[in-house]
């Protein structure tokens, strides 16, 4: 085996320029894929992180049918207190959950006693909400990062448009479930930077204030946002929770709850998906580059060495050994391309990070590009390149191994 590698490597060195060209082509391909994956990957992760950590949470539970009309924030589709109690009992037992937050969502009027405008509000337990969407605290640009009863966090646009500052008194008026109207005076406790995506321009009040405004007898909950300890386990856990809910809580004829992961709750999932599709096509291109360049080089190598093949076949080298000889040559070429590509790719990504390139995402300005290379990606890309190299060498190698020695020896 070692000997086959020795022969393969010496044959590669024999045509230095050609080997170099092919290896560089593979290298460029690998670098391109690595940089692309890490930059788009970091963008994607940032985007998902922003959305899930500043308002959405990783997953949400609603009353069955709520999400279909979520734009209207329907009060008649809230969860009843005893249902919420049952669900909470279940959620409290799940070790995977880091935190969850109960929300009463409703639309209302916001008045500074001079002007009135619309506002969407979340009535929450502030401590639970801040644990479930940890980036929320960071969005409070003015005022306190805590929310007490009687306070309200208002979105930045509202603060500017209505000229309302922290400490000002305002009035929130909302229509109740029965159609009557109720209002409450609140003090502006903080101003929230807008976030991109649905819910990015909502205001926040204490859940008990919300109940008071809506004149709820018992607590009725619009949504429960859940944050997991490990985002990577999202799919597995959502399946598990889904099964638990449908088995233990939902009645077969009249299901109470519905569960959605963040993907189903924001249009940005499509963008995340498109990034994945693009990555897939870029990888496909890499495969094509490797396949064609290695095959090309190996076909030439076999053609140039027909007489050599005839010689070794005549003196008794078995077809399988001859096949291996050429496959190993392609394999080595793949390894060299992958190795140099990995090193160069990491170097370029490292440099990109040093340059601290900034970009904007919706309202968020000056986000710093933080491209990561994952060991997993390196392994997958290297393995792909090497496997494709071997596959590309198979046909020429097979041809070499099947050559008739006398014909090959007579070849000029």
């Amino acid at each position: 085996m070692g000997n086959l590698f020795k022969i393969a490597i010496r044959n590669l060195l024999r045509y230095k320029r050609r080997t170099l060209l092919t290896a560089s082509l593979i290298t460029v391909g690998v670098v391109f894929v690595l940089v692309f994956i890490s930059v788009t990957g970091s963008f994607k992760n940032m985007m998902i992180g922003q959305i899930t950590d500043s308002m959405l949470g990783h997953m949400q539970v609603h009353r069955k049918g709520y999400v279909a009309s979520i734009e209207n924030l329907p009060l008649n589709l809230n969860l009843r207190q005893e249902d919420v109690k049952q669900l909470e009992d279940m959620l409290n037992k799940q070790a995977e959950i880091e935190a969850y937050s109960l929300r009463i969502k409703f639309g209302g009027m916001f008045s500074n006693f001079v002007e009135t405008t619309n506002i969407r509000l979340n009535g929450v337990y502030p401590d639970k909400e801040l644990k479930s969407v940890p980036l929320l605290a960071g969005r409070v640009t003015e005022g306190k990062k805590t929310l007490d009863k009687g306070g309200i966090w208002i979105p930045e646009l509202l603060s500017k448009g209505m000229k309302v500052k922290v400490g000002d008194a305002i009035v929130v008026v909302a229509t109740n479930k029965d159609g009557s109207v109720n209002g409450k005076q609140l003090i502006v406790a903080g101003v929230l930077e807008s976030a991109t995506g649905p819910g990015g321009r909502d205001g926040y009040i204490h859940i008990e204030d919300a109940m008071e405004i809506l004149r709820m007898e018992g607590m009725e909950i619009s949504e429960i946002a859940i944050r997991l300890k490990d985002f990577g386990r999202l799919n597995a856990f959502s399946k598990k929770l889904e099964a638990l809910i449908s088995k233990e809580l939902n009645q077969p004829d009249k299901p109470i709850f519905e569960l959605h992961t963040w993907e189903k709750l924001t249009p940005f999932y499509t963008i995340a998906n498109m990034i994945d599709v693009m990555t897939f096509f870029i990888k496909l291109m890499l495969i094509a580059i490797v396949l064609i360049s290695i095959m090309n080089v190996m076909i030439m190598a076999v053609y140039e060495r027909i007489r050599e093949i005839g010689t070794i076949a005549a003196i008794g080298t078995l077809p399988g050994k001859i096949l291996n000889m050429f496959v190993i040559e392609g394999f080595c070429l793949g390894i060299v391309g992958a190795a140099i590509g990995n090193v160069a790719g990491i170097a370029i990504i490292y440099t990109l990070n040093l340059l601290k390139i900034t970009y904007n995402f919706g309202q968020q300005k000056g986000l710093i590009l933080q491209a990561n290379v994952y060991f997993y990606d390196l392994i997958v890309i290297s393995a792909t390149v090497i496997i494709v190299s071997v596959i590309a060498s198979l046909q020429p190698a097979f041809k070499a191994s099947r050559m008739e020695p006398i014909k090959a020896l007579r070849h000029v």
Binding site: R14, I312, A314, T317, P319
Partner: protein, 234 residues
């Protein structure tokens, strides 16, 4: 007991519609440790015959046994193994492997055709390097040595597996007369030392004289046989 026995072998080449009969019923026996030459004009069938004996090709009809093996019925892989363990080859164009050194070229059959353990390998390669007088060139690559030296390396490579038979088709055609003579002498010396049968083809009259048994081929037929010290007509 003979090493090679050919009985009425014929070989036809079909190229499209035309069939060329390159051998027209050739029979002979060759004993172990012989030093044999096939001679004849161009196109007389020397290469064809050597290819058959060397298990590189199959006769169209007739019987052929080499080292007690009916070589006609071997398949591809069996032929390759048979060649690897019984036959050494020397080529007109030397055909050394360019990426291997002199030493590695001689070692090649022990490593890649047979699997001889390292110690034994070293001993055999060293002995042959010594025997063909190439020990001080052993680390050179084929493109760094002369034609005569290449053919000496090829002789060593052919012998390193201790084959029963070494076949050489026009081994001296690309060498000047003096070198050619030395290569034939080397082959003879090797025959004496290792008791290997050597069969070579040539049309160089002076070289022919070095053979102990000479078969005359003409137009695909054996026209005569000469042994050192007398002439027999076949």
């Amino acid at each position: 007991m003979s090493l090679i026995s050919a009985d009425n072998i014929q070989k036809d080449y079909k190229t499209g519609e035309v069939t060329v009969r390159a051998l027209k019923g050739v029979s002979f026996e060759i004993a172990p440790a012989s030093f044999v030459s096939f001679v004849g004009p161009s196109g007389s069938g020397k290469t064809t015959l050597l290819n058959l004996i060397g298990c590189l090709d199959k006769p169209s009809s007739g019987k052929l046994t080499v080292a007690d093996t009916d070589v006609i019925h071997l398949d591809r892989k069996q032929s390759a193994s048979f060649r690897g363990s019984n036959i050494g080859f020397i080529f007109q164009d030397f055909n050394l492997i360019p990426v291997l050194t002199v030493y590695e070229n001689i070692e090649y059959p022990l490593l890649m055709v047979q699997s001889v353990p390292a110690g034994e390998r070293e001993k055999r390669v060293a002995a042959l390097l010594e025997a063909v007088g190439m020990i001080d060139q052993k680390n050179k690559y084929p493109d760094q040595i002369s034609g005569g030296q290449k053919q000496r390396v090829a002789v060593a490579r052919a012998l390193v597996t201790n084959p029963k038979l070494v076949l050489a088709d026009e081994p001296t055609a690309n060498l000047d007369h003096k070198t050619a003579y030395m290569v034939i002498e080397l082959m003879k010396k090797m025959r004496d030392e290792f008791k290997t049968t050597f069969i070579f083809s040539t049309h160089d009259q002076k070289i022919v004289g070095e053979a102990e048994i000479i078969y005359m081929l003409e137009d695909g037929e054996l026209k005569g046989m000469e042994t050192k010290g007398g002439k027999k007509n076949g």
